[in-house]
Amino acid sequence: MTSDVSELTPADYPLSINRPDLLRTPTGKALGDITMAGVVSGEVTNEDLRVTPDTLVMQGQIAESVGRRQLGENCRRAAEMTAIPDEEVLAMYNALRPNASTAAQLEEIASRLEGTYSASTCAALVREAAQVYAARTLLAEEDS
Amino acid sequence: MTAAVESVRTLTLREVGPAERGTRPDEVVIALSPAFGEPFTKTIVDVPHAEVIRQLLAGIEERGGSARIIKVYRTADLAAIAHFGAKLSGSGIAVGVLSRGTTVLHQRDLARLSNLELFPQAPLLDAEVFRMIGANAAQYAQGQSPRPVPTRNDQMARPRWQAKAALLHLKEFECIDHARAAVEVEPVITRVD
């Protein structure tokens, strides 16, 4: 993370116009590198059209700078999630549905989030869910 | 919407015993919700419950099926009512009907929230549709694959009927009796001129 990032204010928004210098694609290209010529030549790939965790953290800071604490938190969770493959994100979401997982299964997801993806904020959300589900009898039956 | 009915049929559901599993392989079970027939007497668009039953039975009969009627008291959830009926049906086929008219065709081996055919818009169900539903039920019971009953759609059903449907739903919920097991009933339809 570059040092001036911590000072982002609403004046930096939109980043695409006011601070393109801060933006990179997941493969390290600059925003200005995403051109039709680059698309046609194959230099720009689907991988380039994703947001990086750094950018999400920056957007979260901008949101927090105008008092949107929860949107900032969401951006931080999202930053952690960029590392998780699409299918696994969907599988984790499904596991969080009511009566879909046992306490042990949710803990397994939380540990994986923490261990494999360094996603501690996401892990905390899953652990919190596990606690509430236990209290409200929304865990899957333990038997099978 | 509904033409004035000159002669009215009334429906009495006479209890004949506990609802049990049937054995006839061509049997269709008609599973009725807690408020069907008593205390309610007609669907959301004033189709008399007597007419609903009469048309379903006629549809089943004209396709060579046999029918049995049960009334459920422990739930007002249409999928649960129909699935319960299907499990008691000799053929595994049941028609579930809520008192406001919402109807589903169900089969024993399907998941509860699945179905063969669903008719969610009660305001669009008239005598003709109930007869077609009965006919399809009989065909499913005999292992055939009938063409689904054509579904109707009405953009303006929501402004007209949505709130009344909610009200009827709430009333039906009030008729749930957890202590009362499902019973088999015999329909007595009398004509009042």
Binding site: P14, T55, R68, P98, L125 | R158, L167
Partner: protein, 570 residues
């Protein structure tokens, strides 16, 4: 048993006037009595809880009369995520009438009232808005709406799921000014082709329009991840634990999903609305608005940037009870006040009465919201696969005239016929090229011609549905992405459409569209409640319809020229 007297069909004598009134469209609408014990009541119920809050050791331990041991999961989520622990006791202790006056009084800034709102509980918020009449509610919306510039959203769907129709109508809707376009399906398997139609058509009409396809969560997310759609909206939440669970979700699963969208750079908002809980029979004896306020706070707690509310698909329920449409306006106010983007309903068939349809619309249109309609039907209502909207294509000219009459910006404009025909034709040709390049079932010249001049799906040649469904499947199986579509458009001579589409995809890298109420201007400048924050502070401030935009809205289909009254202004 039912205490309803039969309608007067049996009465022998009615006056001629009564006969005329009986035949008025409004009498086809359904109206019911309230039943507060069951939650069939808009916003004033003795069965709603009284406001209270108590903090111990930095944690909310009592919320609206319930202590933590009795919390259901909505209470827990709201207490732990939505409400500011530091300010809540003081905020809840502020007299409700004082807060209501702050919402209306222009001398209280938006920042101030939003900051106070961060400490309020659901019952306290209800207590405040109950003091407000509908004009005061509109005053509140005018001030608390998050984006300064109002906007609008269209539905583009087809009764036959015809992707060419969806593309042509999306192009027309975009050129008419909608900032967002939404579609859904009759046959779900058609989704990839229809979503492509929406995107290609939208970018043909006006670069930067944002598109979405309403589907079950997993498929909706998948299309978003591939870059075939740009945002998502049908992420439903509910105000009671039992109904939430019936919907197979919890606040935690939905919060996780919110982050999942953001992690792919995709804009997203939740959906909720008055009436859904009582409609499903589990309102737990609370009023519709109380439960909706819980939804709004849950959404805020999850950190999602916005909410679609205003009853939405349950509008027939609040619409049928006394004060129901006031409650619907109040839910839009609360969403705005809680600092969320508000896509404010007016998106479902609401009434048989044209007068009533219009009056239901004014509390959102007059003050302006982030999206006045979260689905104005950009197709004739019979083609609307969301079961019809409060407004459709037949109402375009009426809408434009109301904007001009009232000098309000409802997000649309009158567009000359030649421009509309041009974008419709081009959208259909672009689809023809895309389908050909991707080996999808061919689009004939006859279909392109039909799309140019059509009104409804009846005006198009029938497609081979089975072949289309095969094609739709192959789009998914081959893993076709937005970038592939950009390449195809570029290769086939639709370079400007390709460029527009690429700009939309490129925004994912910046994450700019993740900020509250973000849309794109025609020049691809993200406009959000940051660089376009609502600064209303009384007369003469905030968004004013003036300058170039006002000149644009003065134009109608028929306006007599002042210079030469024998002619009309072109």
């Amino acid at each position: 048993m039912t205490a309803v007297a039969p309608r007067s069909e049996s009465a022998v004598h009615t006056s001629k006037r009564t006969a005329i009134l009986e035949d008025r469209p409004v009498n086809l609408d359904g109206f019911v009595e309230e039943w507060p014990e069951k939650g069939l009541v808009a916003m004033e119920s003795d069965y709603d809880p009284q406001p209270s809050v108590r903090v111990e050791d930095g944690r909310i331990v009592e919320l609206d009369g319930r202590t933590r041991d009795a919390f259901d999961f909505m209470d827990t989520y709201i207490a732990d995520h939505a409400i500011d622990v530091e300010t809540c006791e003081a905020a809840v202790a502020t007299p409700s009438v004082e807060i209501a006056r702050m919402l209306v009084d222009p001398r209280t800034s938006r920042d101030e009232i939003v900051a106070l709102g961060r400490g309020l509980t659901p019952a306290k918020i209800l207590d405040v808005v109950k003091l407000m009449n509908v004009v005061e509610i509109m005053m509140g919306i005018q001030k608390t709406r998050s984006r300064r510039t109002p906007a609008n959203q269209a539905h583009s769907t087809s009764a036959k799921d015809n992707p060419i129709q969806v593309a042509a109508d999306a192009a027309e809707a975009a050129v008419r000014g909608f900032a967002e376009l939404e579609t859904t399906l009759g046959v779900l398997r058609y989704a990839p082709l229809v979503a492509i139609g929406l995107q290609v058509g939208g970018q043909t009409g006006r670069g930067g329009v944002l598109t979405q396809c309403a589907l079950e969560e997993a498929t909706e997310l998948d299309l978003g991840m591939r870059g075939i759609t740009a945002y998502a909206e049908t992420i439903s939440i509910y105000g009671t634990e039992s109904v939430f669970v019936d919907g197979d979700d919890t606040p935690w699963s939905k919060a996780f999903l919110a982050s999942a969208y953001a992690s792919r750079g995709i804009k997203m908002r939740f959906t909720s609305g008055t009436g859904s809980e009582v409609q499903m029979g589990n309102a737990e004896g609370r009023s519709m608005l109380y439960l909706e306020i819980r939804c709004i706070l849950m959404a805020k707690g999850a950190g999602v940037q916005g909410l679609q509310n205003g009853s939405i698909s349950c509008i027939g329920v609040p619409g049928a009870v006394p004060g129901g449409i006031r409650a619907v306006a109040a839910e839009n106010l609360v969403a705005s006040w809680m600092d969320l983007e508000c896509a404010s309903g007016n998106d479902q068939s609401f009434s048989h009465s044209p007068m009533r349809r219009t009056s239901r619309l004014l509390p959102q249109m007059l003050p302006g919201t982030d999206f006045v309609c979260s689905g104005y039907s950009g197709v004739p209502n019979k083609d609307n696969m969301f079961a019809g909207s409060n407004l459709d294509t037949e109402d375009y000219d009426d809408w434009n005239v109301i904007q001009r009459d009232m000098q309000v910006d409802g997000g649309l404009r009158h567009v000359r016929e030649d421009v509309i025909l041009q974008v419709r034709n081009k959208a259909a040709r672009a689809m023809q090229a895309v389908f050909a390049e991707l080996d999808l079932p061919a689009i004939t010249d006859e279909e392109v011609e039909a799309a140019t001049y059509a009104d409804s799906s009846d005006d198009y040649p029938d497609r081979d549905v089975l072949a289309d469904l095969e094609g739709a499947k192959s789009v998914m199986d081959r893993g076709i992405t937005g970038l592939d579509l950009v390449k195809v458009l570029e290769r086939t001579g639709f370079g400007d459409v390709a460029e527009n589409y690429l700009q939309v995809l490129r925004q994912r890298v910046s994450g700019d569209l993740l900020q509250t109420a973000a849309i794109f201007t025609g020049d691809f400048v993200p406009l959000a409640a940051i660089n376009d924050a609502n600064d209303y502070a009384g007369p003469g401030t905030g968004y004013r319809l003036s300058g170039e935009r006002w000149e644009e809205l003065k134009k109608l289909r028929h306006v007599t020229s002042a210079e030469n009254p024998e002619e009309e202004v072109v």
